[in-house]
C-alpha cells in the first residue's frame, strides 16, 4: 500500500516497455491480454487511491525527499479524488479502445498496444502529480505517444498532415508551458505547486507572474482545443484510428482543461483570488465562443469523425464555462459533464468505427441509406446523439444541473442559453447523420452546401466486412448505457461535490503538501435539477435535422448562410502555418487580457 500512489503510472509503463521489447516474440492475442491486464491494474489502483484520498489528499514523495522546514525540494504526487477519478476514467476508455481494436486492426503490430499503454501511463501521471515540471514532462510523454498514435496510418497523406498539425501546434504549446514555468522559477525558485503557491501568496505579484500564468494556461488550453487553439483537433480526429479518437476526445483534451485548473487552484489562487471576477469573465467568454463556433462548425460537417471532433470542441467550451466559474459546485458539474460526455462521445466514435469497418467510408452523403441493416448500431448512434443534448438521467444532464445552478447563483444567466445552443447543434448534427445513414432520409444525391470536405478515409480493417464482431459493438453499447444513466447514480453528485471542494481549497492543499497537516474542508450545498431545458434541447435537436432533410424552405435558408459558412470553413485551412499564426495571436490576446485583469 505504501507504493500504491505510483502504481497507476508504473504498471502501464512497465507493461509498455515489456510489450515493446517482446513485440516480435509474442502473438497479438497475448499482447492484447497483457495490455488489458495492465490497464485493469492501473484502473484498480486509481479506484483505490480515489477512495483512500476522500478525506484528505495522499502525498507521496519520490525517494523519500520530504519537505524540510516547509521547503519542498523533492518531487511529489498529490492525489485527490478528482485527479484519481480522471485517471481511472482514462483507464475505462483505454479498456474500451483496446477491446474495440481486438478485431479492428488486422495488421496491427504489437507496438500499438505499447503506445496505448504509454499514453495511459502519461495520462495517469499527469493527473496525479503535484509538481509543475513533472506535469510538463507527463504532458510531453502524453503528447509524444498521442502523435505517434495519430500517425498510425503512415500510408495515408491525410493522416500525415493531421499528425503534423497536431504535433507542431501541441509542441509549441509545450514550449509556452516550459517558458511559463521557467519565468515562475526565476521569480520563486521552486517547482512544487504548493510551494510556489505559498511563496507567491506572500508577495506582491508583478507582470512577470501574469505573463507566466498566461503562458502556462495557454499551453494547456492548446491541448484543451479552445478557440482559437482548436484547429489541430478536427484534423487529428479525422485521421487518427477510431479507437484512438475515443481516447483523444473522451479524456486527453479534457486533461488539458484539468491542468489549467489544477495549476490555478494549487498555484495561483492565493495571489489571484481577488481578481476572480475578471478571470471568470475571461474564461467564460473563451468557453462561450468555443461552444458556439464549434457547434456551428459541427453541424456543417459531412465527415462523421470530423463532425464528432467539432462536437467535442463545442462541449469543451461548456466544460470550460463550468470550470471557469471558479466555484466548487460548478466544478463538480464540469467533472460529471466530463464523464457523461466522454462516455457518450466514445460510443459515438466507436459507431463511426463500425461504419468505417462495414462500408469503408465515414462520409455522411456517401453512406446515404446504406446503414439500414445495422439496427443495433443505429440505436446506439441515435441514443448517443440524443444524449449529447442532455437527456434526463444522463451524465451530461447531471453535470448541467450543478453547472447551471452555480451559474445562476453567480449571476450568469446566459450560460443556460449557450449550453442549450451547443447541446442542440451537436445533437442535431448526429441525428441528421443517423437519419441519412440509417434510414436514408432526405434526397439521395444532395450537393453539399458550404465547403465541407469530402472524406476519403481508408478502411482500417482488411477482412470480415460483412459482420460486426461483438468486440466492436459491445464496448459502444456499454459505454452508451453508462453515459445515458450516469445521472441516476445517487451518490455521484454528492461525492463529486466533495471532491471538487477538496480540489478548490488551495490553503488545505498547501498545508497538506508542505506541512503534512490536514484541514477540514467544508462541503458546499447541493444544487437542484431542472429538466425543462434539457427536454427543449432534445426537442430542437430532433426538429432541426428533420427540417433540413424534409423541408424545402430550410434548404433555401441553408443556401442563404452558405457564404458565411464557406468563410468559416476557409479559416480551417489545414495549413500548419495558419494554425500557428492563430495560436500566436490567441496567446498574445490572452496574455494582454491577463495583465489587464490582474493589474
Amino acid at each position: 500500500m505504501r507504493y500504491a500512489p505510483v502504481l497507476p503510472v508504473a504498471i502501464p509503463l512497465i507493461a509498455a516497455a515489456l510489450l515493446a521489447a517482446l513485440s516480435k516474440a509474442i502473438s497479438q492475442a497475448a499482447s492484447l491480454i497483457i495490455a488489458i491486464a495492465a490497464t485493469l491494474g492501473a484502473m484498480g489502483a486509481c479506484v483505490l487511491l480515489a477512495g483512500a484520498s476522500r478525506s484528505e489528499s495522499i502525498v507521496y514523495w519520490f525517494g523519500g525527499w520530504r519537505p524540510h522546514a516547509g521547503v519542498a525540494l523533492g518531487i511529489s504526487f498529490v492525489i485527490d479524488p478528482l485527479g484519481a477519478g480522471m485517471a481511472g476514467f482514462a483507464g475505462i476508455l483505454t479498456l474500451a479502445a483496446l477491446a474495440f481494436s481486438a478485431k479492428y486492426f488486422d495488421t496491427a503490430e504489437n507496438h500499438l498496444h505499447a503506445l496505448i499503454l504509454a499514453f495511459l501511463a502519461a495520462m495517469c501521471g499527469f493527473t496525479l502529480t503535484g509538481d509543475m515540471f513533472n506535469l510538463f514532462v507527463f504532458f510531453e510523454l502524453m503528447s509524444a505517444a498521442a502523435f505517434a498514435l495519430c500517425a498510425h496510418k503512415t500510408e495515408d497523406p491525410g493522416s500525415l498532415q493531421g499528425a503534423l498539425n497536431f504535433a507542431v501546434t501541441n509542441t509549441i504549446g509545450a514550449y509556452f508551458i516550459l517558458t511559463g514555468i521557467a519565468l515562475l522559477y526565476a521569480r520563486i525558485g521552486a517547482l512544487n505547486m504548493a510551494q510556489i503557491g505559498q511563496t507567491l501568496g506572500r508577495e506582491h505579484p508583478n507582470k512577470l507572474v501574469f505573463v507566466a500564468f498566461a503562458f502556462v494556461v495557454c499551453g494547456y488550453l492548446i491541448k484543451g482545443a479552445l478557440v482559437p487553439f482548436h484547429f489541430w483537433l478536427a484534423d487529428a480526429h479525422a485521421v487518427a484510428p477510431t479507437p484512438i479518437c475515443v481516447l483523444f476526445s473522451g479524456v486527453m483534451v479534457e486533461l488539458g482543461l484539468y491542468a489549467v485548473f489544477r495549476v490555478y487552484w494549487a498555484v495561483f489562487d492565493p495571489v489571484f483570488h481577488i481578481h476572480i471576477a475578471g478571470l471568470r469573465a475571461l474564461f467564460l467568454s473563451v468557453g462561450a465562443l468555443t461552444a458556439v463556433l464549434a457547434g456551428v462548425m459541427c453541424y456543417s460537417q459531412r465527415n462523421i469523425k470530423r463532425l464528432l471532433a467539432y462536437s467535442t470542441i463545442s462541449h469543451m467550451g461548456l466544460m470550460t464555462i463550468g470550470a471557469g466559474l471558479f466555484d466548487p459546485v460548478a466544478l463538480s458539474g464540469a467533472a460529471i459533464y466530463v464523464l457523461g460526455h466522454g462516455l457518450v462521445k466514445a460510443a459515438l466514435f466507436l459507431c463511426s468505427g463500425i461504419l468505417l469497418h462495414r462500408f469503408g467510408t465515414v462520409d455522411e452523403l456517401e453512406l446515404h441509406g446504406v446503414g439500414k441493416p445495422l439496427k443495433w448500431t443505429a440505436a446506439v448512434f441515435v441514443l448517443g446523439g440524443i444524449a449529447l443534448a442532455g437527456t434526463p438521467f444522463s451524465g451530461i444532464s447531471a453535470g448541467d444541473a450543478s453547472l447551471h445552478s452555480a451559474a445562476e447563483h453567480l449571476g450568469y444567466h446566459w450560460v443556460r442559453w449557450i449550453s442549450l445552443f451547443a447541446g442542440t447543434m451537436t445533437s442535431a448534427a448526429v441525428l441528421r447523420v443517423a437519419g441519412r445513414v440509417f434510414w436514408g432520409w432526405g434526397p439521395a444525391r444532395e450537393r453539399a452546401s458550404g465547403a465541407a470536405p469530402k472524406s476519403d478515409e481508408k478502411r482500417e480493417t482488411q477482412s470480415g466486412h460483412k459482420t460486426i464482431p461483438s468486440s466492436m459493438f459491445l464496448p459502444a453499447a456499454v459505454l452508451l448505457l453508462a453515459g445515458l444513466f450516469l445521472g441516476m447514480m445517487p451518490a455521484l453528485p454528492q461525492s463529486t461535490l466533495k471532491a471538487a471542494a477538496q480540489f478548490t481549497n488551495s490553503s488545505a492543499y498547501d498545508a497538506r503538501v508542505l506541512g503534512g497537516v490536514s484541514i477540514a474542508i467544508p462541503g458546499p450545498a447541493m444544487p437542484e435539477t431542472n429538466v425543462t431545458f434539457s427536454l427543449i434541447a432534445v426537442g430542437l435537436a430532433i426538429l432541426i435535422p428533420a427540417a433540413q432533410l424534409f423541408s424545402r424552405q430550410a434548404r433555401v435558408l441553408s443556401k442563404a448562410i452558405g457564404p458565411a459558412m464557406k468563410w468559416l470553413h476557409a479559416l480551417h485551412s489545414g495549413h500548419v502555418g495558419d494554425y500557428v499564426a492563430f495560436l500566436t495571436f490567441g496567446v498574445a490576446v490572452f496574455a494582454l487580457a491577463c495583465v489587464f485583469i490582474l493589474q
Binding site: F147, L164, A167, V168, A182, A186, A451, V580
Partner: protein
Amino acid sequence: MSYLPYAVAAWLFIIGLYGVITSRNLVHLCICVSVIQSSSYVLLLAIGYRTGRPAPVYADIPAGTPAVDPVVQALMLTDVVVEVTVMALLLALAVQVHKRLGTLDPDRLRKLRG
C-alpha cells in the same frame, strides 16, 4: 547579470514562431520548432547562472558556497531528452510525407480542411 540572455531567448522564440508560420518546407519547419526550443534552453540557463560563481559540484568547493543553480540545468537536460523524441517523430512524419507526395511544401498538403 545582463538582460542580454533574456533578450536572446525572447528573440529566438519569436523568430522561431515566425519561421513556423511562413515555412514552405517541412524540414525547415521542424528546424524552426527546434529554434523555439533553443529559446527555452537559453532562458533556463540564464535564470540559473550566477556571475563568477563555480559549478555546483561540491567535491572541491566548501559546502554552502553559493554556486550556479543546478535545478534549471537538470530541467534543461530533461527538456532536451523529451524534445529529441518529438523532433525525431516530426522529422519521421516529414520523411513519410515526402515518400507519399514527393513534396515537402506544407501548402501542397491539401487533404484536410474545413
